[in-house]
Symmetry: C2
């Protein structure tokens, strides 16, 4: 098996939503296709990748640094010698050569995007769904899950009829099969945010949970003030209370706020996650970590994060990746994660799961199609085929 | 005053050197020119910027994210209302809109490169050398320095006749007017590195100091082992012993190693520097911090780092930026930093200072030419004018 070419492009992942920090109307996403000479059913096998919303497309880094290193590597170096199939772990080692330590930002997105395409290619070449390939490749002992808990991330600020529109939005998620939902906070005064929370709690059926997300907006005092107010509700978690790198504020809040905290979607390396573990004061039996491989150098780095966290007593069940896309569903099933995020109806066609695996009682099943399952999302498949 | 266009490109900053982590044979640098409608001496004023070595060029981020935000901003928003001259602090605020917190990597380089060009433009428009403009813009009370301490960073591994070539290299720095020098460690076994250190110490004149740089290569055990061996010498500092984000190893080493430690060139934001201050255990009366504005969102972020460090008892005199270029010389003079790095004869024409201000007894004077002083380096001026 040989990689014959790698094509890339950008697509809008624009949305009219905004969170407490940025608006998404100009958000873009990188898309990548890794073409091979392996023919299955008369067609050369192609692996597709993209990255999650929230960080911009990376054509420049892909074209000038990342892809040339794949082209320059000897083809054998990129293969698993025992199977002859491309090994994304070896690819990641090749593309990170001559990169200095530190500075884990856009580079992590470019590498993570390519990594997704490499896993899609490898799983298709092996004729396996990605979650089974990941389970084997990383030598995991627990059986992979056959379905994964997901929650609907939304709860945006609606300028017109804010509470009515919020109710309509949340009811829509319940109608789609979700049980648990997340809404934004921090984009309005506390009292208004509390009304939003109570509005959603009143309409959620028994057993459904609500999480809230401040998108890293608060300083320590505001984070504590919100924490005191949020303690009155039985929330699923209180997400990104402060700057993702402000470990001490996390630690102060974890001492004061008895409920679960969640963070990590804006940490892009095992080195940063190690610092969160060491200095962030989070509680391995309660809190939730949301790192996202497509923004963070891909699955090999995610596996390094899991090893790092295990040394501090964190089980994979406390992890729930940001991103709302299919590779994270496969990752969650393979590694026994607690679940993964979902963004119903936004960031389409990149977000969401296979049409053959609808959300049912808050869970999504794992498709058995070889690869990530992109071909089971026809709009996404068509976009990637046309542009790459 | 209006910005009429911004042009950008890339240039090789290739060198045959390598440190303990990467080789520099494919290293590139972004170059930027900000053109204005302000005419001085019959020519429109142009500001030039580039970034320091060690991180790659950023054409993609500049073209897709950073420069469009300058173009989209209302022209007045980018000016200092009291002078009508472009204000790089306001420019930086405009270009960071719709960027999420965390992920301080390549984005910091792209913004830092543009920032350098904006300061060159602003200082030329004001008819002032940059160090005086910075001194005024940030309201600094201490008089700016008229010359700045610099040291020669080199001491590379020479494959042929290693010790003789090292002696020749260091003698060359002394002949150029440097007093203090830095050599690489960590690219050879400890015993060989100690022979290199002793070789240099034997030829340095009385009063000259030697620093050593491991480029972030060591784990905690090796960092400690080197520290025990280095304690036998009166070194200027022991630089980047470990991964730049491994704050705990810095703290462990600071407890054990009595000499000065240096780090920070691979931290690219005030948020990361705050974590180093909080968790790195470094000693404000002894250790040295080397953040580099052209890799770190530019001077406004550097000023934020200084404010953050001051809250922990760090004086500007403990800072000594990586980079070896003219903007850091101006910064050191304006903010009263301890000095700045220099790379004699490598990374040309980007590295080094004005031809009119040679190194004398380890100090470099500040030119009074308006701007950064790029026009006083003809090879650099010509390269930038031709390509932009």
């Amino acid at each position: 098996m040989r990689i014959t070419k790698i094509t890339y492009g950008e697509a809008p992942i624009a949305s009219q939503i905004s969170n407490a920090v940025i608006d998404f109307s100009r958000m873009t996403v990188s898309i990548v296709a890794v073409h091979s000479d392996l023919v299955v059913d008369g067609e050369p096998v192609v692996g597709y990748g993209f990255h999650s919303n929230g960080r911009y497309a990376q054509s420049g880094l892909l074209s000038t640094r990342i892809l040339p290193r794949v082209e320059d590597a000897s083809p054998e170096r990129l293969l698993d010698p025992s199977t002859g199939i491309v090994d994304p772990v070896r690819v990641q080692q090749a593309v990170m050569e001559n990169e200095k330590p530190g500075g884990h930002g856009d580079r992590a997105v470019a590498v993570g995007t390519l990594d997704m395409a490499m896993w899609d290619l490898a799983a298709k070449a092996a004729g396996e769904p990605l979650y089974r390939l990941l389970h084997e490749r990383f030598g995991l002992r627990e059986q992979p899950a056959s379905s994964v808990w997901v929650y609907a991330a939304g709860g945006y600020y609606h300028p017109d009829k804010p509470l009515q529109a919020l109710r309509d939005e949340i009811r829509g998620y319940l109608d789609l099969g979700y049980r648990d939902v997340k809404i934004k906070i921090g984009g309005a005064p506390l009292e208004e945010d509390l009304r939003r929370i109570e509005t959603v709690l009143h309409l959620l059926p028994s057993g459904c949970r609500l999480a809230v997300d401040a998108n890293g907006r608060f300083g320590v005092e505001e984070a504590l003030r919100y924490g005191r107010a949020l303690a009155a509700y039985d929330l699923l978690w209180y997400e990104e209370p402060c700057d993702p790198l402000d470990y001490r504020t996390h630690a102060v809040l974890a001492d004061e706020y008895a409920g679960a905290l969640a963070t990590g979607e804006n940490l892009f390396s095992a080195a940063d996650v190690r610092n969160l573990r060491r200095h962030g004061g989070l509680r391995p039996h309660r809190d939730v970590l949301q790192m996202d491989p497509s923004l963070s150098y891909g699955v090999p780095e995610y596996a390094a994060m899991l090893r790092e966290l295990a040394s501090g007593g964190w089980s994979p069940g406390r992890l729930c990746p940001h991103g709302g896309n299919q590779i994270n569903l496969a990752l969650a099933a393979a590694f026994g994660l607690g679940g993964c995020e979902s963004y119903p109806k936004v960031f389409e066609p990149f977000g969401g799961f296979a049409e053959s695996t609808p959300v049912t009682d808050g869970y999504v099943g794992l498709p058995e199609e070889p690869g990530i399952g992109i071909e089971l999302k026809p709009a996404l498949r068509d976009l990637l085929r046309e542009r790459l």
